[in-house]
Amino acid sequence: MSVLPAAPPAASAERPSPVGEVTLLLRRVGAMCLVELQKLRHDRTELVTRTVQPALWLIVFGTTFSRIHAIPTGSTPYLDFLAPGILAQSALFVAIFYGIQVIWERDAGVLAKLLVTPTPRAALVTAKAFAAGIRALVQALVVVVIALLLGVGLTGNPLKLLGAAVVVVLGSAFFCCLSITLAGVVLSRDRLMGIGQAITMPLFFASNALYPVDVMPGWLQMVNRVNPLSYEVEALRGLLVGTPARLGLCFAVLLVAAAVMITVASALLPRLAR
């Protein structure tokens, strides 16, 4: 047998300092994102099956609606208008799945094992949130390729593409933590699946993903104003196809929404471990 590392003395465990806490957080986020990419590498079937829905939206819904000119999108072709919306939708579906994953991890003992590592709850939740962002980003790449094949005029500006990537990660972090929060409230996989299905479609339809805000009835415009998905879509549309967008506002809303949701989800995580 090879020589195993000797156990460290108890006193060697360090005291947390602010700088130490931040580097710890970054290390944990890195570790969890790496694992996410490793999982994707070993099993690409999920990546493929999750491509079907956005592809259908773009190919069937998108091309049909561009032909009948039912939705007024000004000088922007409807397919160009739709592509960022579908990109945000596919990221939403990836992220909402994470609450279910956390409950599965609870049932399988994985969560307990993670909680018995020297990792603060908030770091664990933040790491999950960014892992969701990474996975959503890989998914977004697939949607971008489909959109390009359909002739959508997407930007080639690397700064704008980077901005779009940040938007996808922030949006996914928010929805991932929303889903973990719901998991911490309902505590069972079946109930969460029901709730997940019950909220994702309304979030999507009550957003500007499929149609511009001005054609919505007044009450829907109100809902739209508090729906983070709409800010995600607005920013993506502005960055990728160049429609007018309140980029500063969108980034601010997404950043605050993600931070608040990470905090709430971290507070509820221990409930899952009881």
């Binding site: 590392p5 465990a13 290390r27 094992k113 020297p118």
Partner: protein, 263 residues
């Protein structure tokens, strides 16, 4: 200093009392077995020791550190393998272990070597680059041991480590535990409801029944006090009027289900 010290621990889920006044004092380097039927409160006790469930201050200490006040320092000293088979089937063995090396801040320079060493010690070098979904139940358990050991814990906490495994896989798991313990002197706290296993592998045992400890000592002491040919099963019946295997099958089935899900 006791690696694990528990003083009059009580724990209730709502009105349901799961642990009803437990005292434990582990000695450095020993394998201590918490022995009892399903529902005795073993897992609950371990979850308090591993900081997963709250305890009043100064009731539970690990290496002299309070599990409530020094939560994170305690976690750094522990290796924990939960009752369920909990390796990630969609990662390779090596990736499963490397994740825990990172989560325990094993320095980058030493990481690859530490991961290799621990995989080797668990007899998994050959299969380290296959996804864990292709592993047998015994291999998954050894992989989980590797995950728990890569941080070189002072105290290894194992919840029913051999439930659902065949006899060969069982002794495989125990042999590895003893080898590592001899090499680095860690203390092992283990639960089981298989008494022949406890007799064979634990230095000391405590018999737990309905949230309370009914007897404690070396297997030899406990059995000698009952009669010349007594087993731990007889000791348990003598102290509790109950059998150890009560409810045992449910656990085996649950572990098999987990094994199917992981594999």
């Amino acid at each position: 200093m006791n690696p694990v010290l528990v003083k009059d621990l009580h724990y209730a889920f709502g009105d349901h009392v799961a642990v009803d006044g437990v005292d434990l004092a582990l000695e450095p380097g020993e394998v201590f077995g918490l022995l009892g039927p399903n529902g005795a409160g073993k897992t609950t006790t371990l979850r308090v020791v591993t900081t997963l469930l709250p305890a009043p201050p100064d009731t539970v200490l690990v290496e002299g550190l309070d599990v409530v006040r020094s939560r994170r320092r305690v976690r750094r000293l522990l290796g924990y393998v939960p009752q369920q088979l909990s390796a990630d089937g969609s990662l390779t063995g090596r990736e499963n272990v490397a994740l825990f090396a990172r989560l325990f801040d094993v320095p980058r320079r030493e990481r690859a070597e530490a991961v290799d060493a621990v995989l080797d010690a668990m007899g998994l070098s050959e299969s380290a680059d296959r996804t864990a979904s292709t592993y047998s139940g015994g291999m998954v358990r050894r992989l989980e041991l590797a995950q728990a050991l890569v941080s070189a814990p002072r105290v290894l906490v194992l919840d029913e480590p051999t439930v659902g495994l065949d006899p060969v896989a069982r002794s495989g798991v125990w042999d590895r535990i003893h080898e590592v313990r001899r090499a680095n002197g860690m203390t092992v706290l283990v639960t089981t409801h298989a008494m022949e296993e406890a007799e064979l592998h634990c230095d000391r045992v405590a018999l737990m029944h309905r949230g309370r400890l009914r007897a404690e000592g070396t297997p030899a002491e406990l059995t000698a006090a009952i009669g010349p040919d007594a087993t731990l099963e007889d000791v348990f019946r003598h102290h509790t009027g109950d059998t150890l295997e009560a409810g045992g099958m449910r656990d085996v089935r649950a572990a098999r289900r987990t094994a199917r899900r992981v594999g």
